[in-house]
């Protein structure tokens, strides 16, 4: 009953890790709530401007639902092309 969390680019470097698995606590039902929770140990999640997220490899807003087994990624705005 875990969640896979991924970080990319500058956020990954600031946190010092690209991935972690966490137990999904009761009451955490959205990407935004997860961000607040993880932000307690990784304040960069709260300070990154225009933070973006993906759930199961699809772009997701902060109000998107998260559930057991999901892969949730946080990253700065993309700069490809």
């Amino acid at each position: 009953m875990t969640l896979k969390i991924l970080y990319f680019a500058g956020l990954r470097e600031a946190i010092g890790s690209g991935a972690e698995n966490i137990e999904l606590p009761a009451g955490i039902g959205t990407v935004g709530a997860l961000r607040e929770l993880l932000g307690r140990s990784h304040p960069e999640l709260l300070s990154t401007k225009n933070l973006r997220a993906a759930v199961n490899q699809r772009m997701a807003g902060m109000d998107a639902p998260v559930a057991d087994g999901d892969e949730v990624a946080f990253f700065p705005p993309v700069t490809g092309g």
Binding site: L6, F8, A9, G10, N50, A54, Q57, R58, M59, A73, F75, P76, P77, V78, T79, G80, G81
Partner: protein, 151 residues
């Protein structure tokens, strides 16, 4: 409809030729090639991506283009890893019956790729490395496709 995410360079001429090879109905091929600009102090840049999501995001963007315009073939190649000034980063090629669809779809795919595909550029300069900031103008360019200003 084919997308590739790869460290290797690509042959622009061969990719353009393949878009209409053996297809009598193709009347237009439009393409875009993005390069690492010679930008004074930038010695190189490294492209990071989100394996799995990157391919899915590009495939979704191409599918959206296919719903908006009458397209015959689409090819997208995006390089990853360390690239030097002057090197090719990205190729978008589209074939269609008439030029309007090819031009528009090519620009749409690039605009959406810039704001929706999970790539990040990191520049190497004499002062150290730094992650490239997203540009607001890229968001504006992508947004106009849903604002009825184009497409």
């Amino acid at each position: 409809m084919e997308v590739s995410v790869q460290p290797e360079d690509f042959d622009t001429g061969a990719e353009i030729a393949a878009l209409s090879a053996g297809d009598d109905g193709a009347g237009a091929v439009a393409s875009f090639v993005g390069l690492v600009r010679h930008d004074g102090h930038v010695a190189a840049m490294t492209l990071e991506h989100y394996p799995g999501m990157t391919e899915a995001a590009l495939t979704d963007i191409v599918a959206q283009a296919g719903q908006r315009w009458m397209l015959r073939r689409v090819r997208v190649i995006h390089r990853i890893g360390r690239l030097l000034p002057g090197e090719r980063i990205v190729f978008v090629g589209v074939s269609s019956g008439h030029r309007g669809d090819a031009f528009a779809a090519c620009e749409f795919i690039m605009d959406y790729l810039k704001t929706r595909a999970p790539f990040w550029k990191k520049e190497e300069t004499p002062e150290g490395t730094r992650w490239v900031d997203a540009r607001e103008s890229d968001d504006h360019a992508a947004r106009r496709w849903s604002d009825g200003m184009a497409g």
